[in-house]
Structure formats: structure tokens, C-alpha cells
């Protein structure tokens, strides 16, 4: 049964379903906004792609087995990156050993022990956010006064402590976010079984969140691995020989890149590019691996 359009409606419901009124204008605005958002996303990816491409293009020519297994030459020109990569790895590893347990414990305090809306936890969270915003050179100078100057010597360990301070807020905040994802009914369940909180945390909450905590820690470590300023201040005078003693000066990649690039010599630039490529590759691999782990642990959490 058909009938004429009811006169009380302000439009004709039987008209074809093409845009009418100001819908045409609204559609255009919507498309423009969408275009801007997509464009911005492409800019971000493009910047990354250009950086990676440039580093690969300039660094690939130096890259060889020799480059990886030789120590740098005295003034940063030529030579390889063996001692600096190993030095960087040791410095970063010590930093992680300091920062990750403390960061995870801070996160456990904030999510598991502090009362909701606790003032201490709130202050702590703000402190961590501020610490995250402190320029790394400031942390470097702080450690210079605290460790390096009293020791009268650059040490890898001083660099480790500075990097640990940089990692700490990243580890704590990311672990906190993951612990928050652990469903609270799990905590209720373990509470209701008459098991104390700490045992619940180590046997239920932490295993459930483990993937995410590991991921967050890897991301924090990767971020700190590329930090240069604290190492320039605290660990930049090492001879280029391989050393495993963190309590003495330790060669490391960021400082090597800096000295090589300041050599005003094409061979120096090449070394800097090569070292930059290796550093970038390691950090990208760590990032991608960490994100893969995170995705897996998310799937586990959601059943």
C-alpha cells in the first residue's frame, strides 16, 4: 500500500536516498579530516622510512664481517665496532638489571598495594612522569657529580646507573599499565582462597602479566641503549680496546658514533654510519620482537 508523503515531515521520505540538506557539506568536511589524519600517519612512517633508508644506504657499504669483529682504531676513524658493541651491551645490561626489578616493584606497589586514589601512589606516578621528562644530559651531569667525579675516572658503571635512571620510569609505567590489565576477578579469586597478597602476586598476577612486563622492559632498554648524553659525560674517554670491566672506562657505540662523525674525515663518517646502522638494527629488532611478545600475551590474557 502506497501513500503520499506525510505532510508533517520536514522532508520527503520517498525521495531518492542521495545526500540532501547540509549532508553534502558535512561529508566533505569529514573527508578532509580523514585525509589529514591519514596524511599525518604517513608522515610519521615516512620519517622513519627515510631515516632507516639513509642509514642503511650510507652504512651498508662499511658493513662487513671485519667491521663487526674488529675494534675501533684510536681516533674513531676506520676500524670496527666489536669492543664498542660489547661495551654498550654490558653497560645497558647492567642498567637493565638495576632498573627492571625496581621498576616492576614500583608498578606492583602502585597497582597491587596502594589503595585506590592513594596520594602516595599519585605523587609517585607524577614523579615518574617528571623523571621521564628530565633531559638525559641532566641525568648525565647528575651521575657525573655522584659517581664519576668522586672516582676521578670515567666508568661504564656510571653510564649504567644513568641509563637505569632513564629506564626506570619507562619500565615502571609500562609494567603498571600491564598489571592494570590483569582482571581483578583473578585477584578476588586468590584473595578468597586465603592466600596472602604477595604469593598471589608472584604466582598469579605476575605470570599473567609477564609477557607485557617483558615487552615494556625491552622497549625501555632499547630506548636507553641509544641514549648518548649520559655516556658522553660519564664514559667517553675509553681506549677502543675490548674490555669486560664495567668499573673502568668502557668503549660504547654512541660515543664512537660521535667521535667518528667529528673526525672530519670521510672514513670517519663511514664508521659512524656503520655503527649507527648496527645500533638502529639492534633497537628495531628489539622493538619488533617486544611488540610481538606483547601481542601474544594480550591474546593469552583475553583467553
Amino acid at each position: 500500500m502506497t501513500s503520499a508523503a506525510p505532510s508533517e515531515l520536514p522532508y520527503d521520505p520517498t525521495a531518492p536516498l542521495t545526500p540532501t540538506g547540509n549532508l553534502r557539506r558535512r561529508l566533505i568536511v569529514s573527508r578532509v579530516a580523514q585525509g589529514l589524519a591519514v596524511g599525518a600517519a604517513f608522515v610519521a612512517v615516512a620519517v622513519l622510512a627515510i631515516v632507516v633508508f639513509d642509514v642503511v644506504k650510507s652504512g651498508a657499504s662499511v658493513l662487513s664481517l671485519d667491521f663487526l669483529v674488529k675494534d675501533p682504531s684510536q681516533y674513531g676513524v676506520g676500524g670496527g665496532i666489536r669492543s664498542t658493541i660489547i661495551g654498550s651491551a654490558i653497560i645497558v645490561a647492567i642498567g637493565a638489571v638495576i632498573a627492571v626489578p625496581i621498576g616492576v616493584l614500583i608498578a606492583i606497589y602502585m597497582t597491587e598495594f596502594a589503595r585506590p586514589k592513594s596520594r602516595i601512589a599519585g605523587a609517585l606516578r607524577m614523579g615518574l612522569d617528571l623523571l621521564q621528562g628530565v633531559p638525559s644530559i641532566v641525568i648525565g651531569i647528575f651521575i657525573l657529580g655522584l659517581i664519576t667525579l668522586p672516582q676521578h675516572e670515567d666508568t661504564g658503571f656510571a653510564g649504567s646507573v644513568a641509563l637505569a635512571i632513564i629506564m626506570l620510569p619507562l619500565v615502571a609505567r609500562s609494567a603498571q599499565e600491564v598489571l592494570r590489565l590483569v582482571p581483578s576477578p583473578l585477584r578476588e579469586a586468590s584473595d578468597a582462597l586465603g592466600v596472602d597478597r604477595w604469593r598471589s602476586i608472584i604466582t598469579v598476577v605476575l605470570p599473567t602479566a609477564l609477557g607485557g612486563i617483558v615487552t615494556g622492559s625491552i622497549l625501555a632498554v632499547a630506548r636507553a641503549a641509544g641514549e648518548t648524553a649520559p655516556l658522553l659525560v660519564n664514559d667517553s674517554t675509553a681506549p677502543p680496546h675490548l674490555t669486560f670491566n664495567p668499573f673502568g672506562p668502557m668503549p660504547n657505540v654512541p660515543v664512537q658514533i660521535l667521535t667518528a662523525s667529528e673526525a672530519l674525515n670521510p672514513a670517519g663518517f663511514a664508521t659512524a654510519w656503520g655503527a649507527a646502522l648496527v645500533l638502529l638494527a639492534l633497537i628495531l629488532i628489539a622493538n619488533v620482537g617486544a611488540r610481538f611478545l606483547l601481542a601474544r600475551s594480550r591474546r593469552k590474557l583475553t583467553g
Binding site: L186, L193, G194
Partner: protein, 301 residues
Amino acid sequence: MTERDPDVTGTVPNQDVVPRQRIQTTAAVPVPAPPPQIAGARPEPARATVFDIKDMTVFYGTKKALDWTTLKIYRNLVTAVIGPSGCGKSTFIRSLNRMNDSIPGFRLDGQVLYHGHDIYAGATNRVEVRRRIGMVFQRPNPFPKSIYDNVAWAPRNLGLKSNLDERVERALRSATLWGEVKDRLKVSALSLSGGQQQRLCIARAIAVEPDVLLLDEPASALDPVATASIEDLMHELKNRYTIVIVTHNMQQAARVADRTAFFSLDPHEHVGTLVEYDDTNVIFSHPADTRTRDYVTGRFG
């Protein structure tokens, strides 16, 4: 359906020991009639009291959630708590093993005596309270671990490590889940169906042999078949445990409970109050309070 007789007529507690609970409210409530005699009630020896709750009043911050509740819960009976949404049923049951402690602003006045010991006394440790008073929640909440590890988790952490396999099997058998899972104990508990998960949670709770099992709407997230298996399970379990169950399903209360407490929402103050507490068949066949009658006959407004 409200006339349905629960099969508990023979286990009526001694009426002299169980004073009928009446709560004073600001609402104009007719003076309660004297307790009707229960047909067929045989004099029974008084059952041991597990919970002796005196004047329990619960606040969340400044809001009063539950007012002036006084009742006793008896050993090896199923006690049901029924009432409309927001009447304080969950608040009540969660206050029995201090699960509300973690809620900001929670405060409890009055006394909750468990075998004569004050649950909220300063010397009482809430972890120890929960070790003896287990709880199963509305939504199944198995740990993201294997079926075996779910049941074995609490015994392991409480130091009950001897004969763990045997203990796990016993708990799963008691929860009538053993037959369904015995060949896949190492499989993740999250792969079980909702009803199986809930029975696993019950098995997990009884693996540490609690004295009391608190069930907070244990079947409300389950389908009728799974609900029926949980109800059958309760009949089995009450021989060994004292069970308190919150349910919004009156038929369920009528089917499983020996004693039933009806809570209601005070229409003026919006505070949950205990209206009537009696044997289940009394509550469902000839309740003393008109509000109870209206609720159990579905005339509740």
C-alpha cells in the same frame, strides 16, 4: 511455584534457639505476626551456629548500604539470601569473609561472630578468615593456568603439598567435574565451558577444605543445564560444608536452600535491610511479612 516445598522439612532448626529476626525500619510495617507453626516440623537438636551476626550495618563512605542485620547461620545447611537488586545481598555475603575490605570507604558496624570469634576484631587476620571461609563469585574466574594448577594453586601456597594429586582429584570429584576433565588436566582452564569453569572454581575453593562456602550468585552467568548441575552440587556439598548462597533466582533458593533470608530495599532511605529469615518452606509458603509475600509471589513493585 512459590508453594513448592523444599525437601528440608525434616531439618528444621529448633525454633526456640532461632528467634525470628525482625528488623525495625522507618517504613510503616505492620507488627509482625507471631511465627506460624511449621507443619511437620519435628523437634531437632539445635544445630551448631557458624555465623552469629549482630546488628551488622555496612557503609560505603557516607552511604549506608546495609542496615541493622541480625541473623544466625547454621552448620551444614544451605542458607539462601534473596532479594531485589541493590538490597545489599552481595554486600552482606562479602562481609562474611572480609572481601569488602578492599573497597574504599567500606565500614562495618556491629559484630560478625564466626564460631564465636569476631571476624572484624583487631587480632583477626583476613587472610586466615578467607582460608576457612571460601568464596565463589558470580562470573567464573579461573586462573589462566591449567585445570590441575587451578585446583592445586591454593593448596600449594598454603603448604598442603602432600598427596597433591589426590587432593586435586578429590576436589574435582566433589565438584562433579572429574569425569569431564580427568583426561585433560594439563589443558588451560579457559578452554572449559562457563558451567565447567564455575564448577572448577568451586573445586578450587574446596581444595583447601574450607569450613564455609560463600556463593555469590554462582549460577547467574550460566545456562539452565549448568545451573542445574551447580544446584545438584550444592546438595552434595552441604554434607561437608556450610553454604551461604546469594541468588536473585527465587526458584533456585526454593530448590537448594534449607533457610532463606529475604533482604529488601527500604523505599525511603534506599538502604538494604533484612526483612525476614526463616526456613525456606516458610518463606515461600506462608511468609510472615507482606513484603516477603509480595516478592516471592512476583508481586514485588
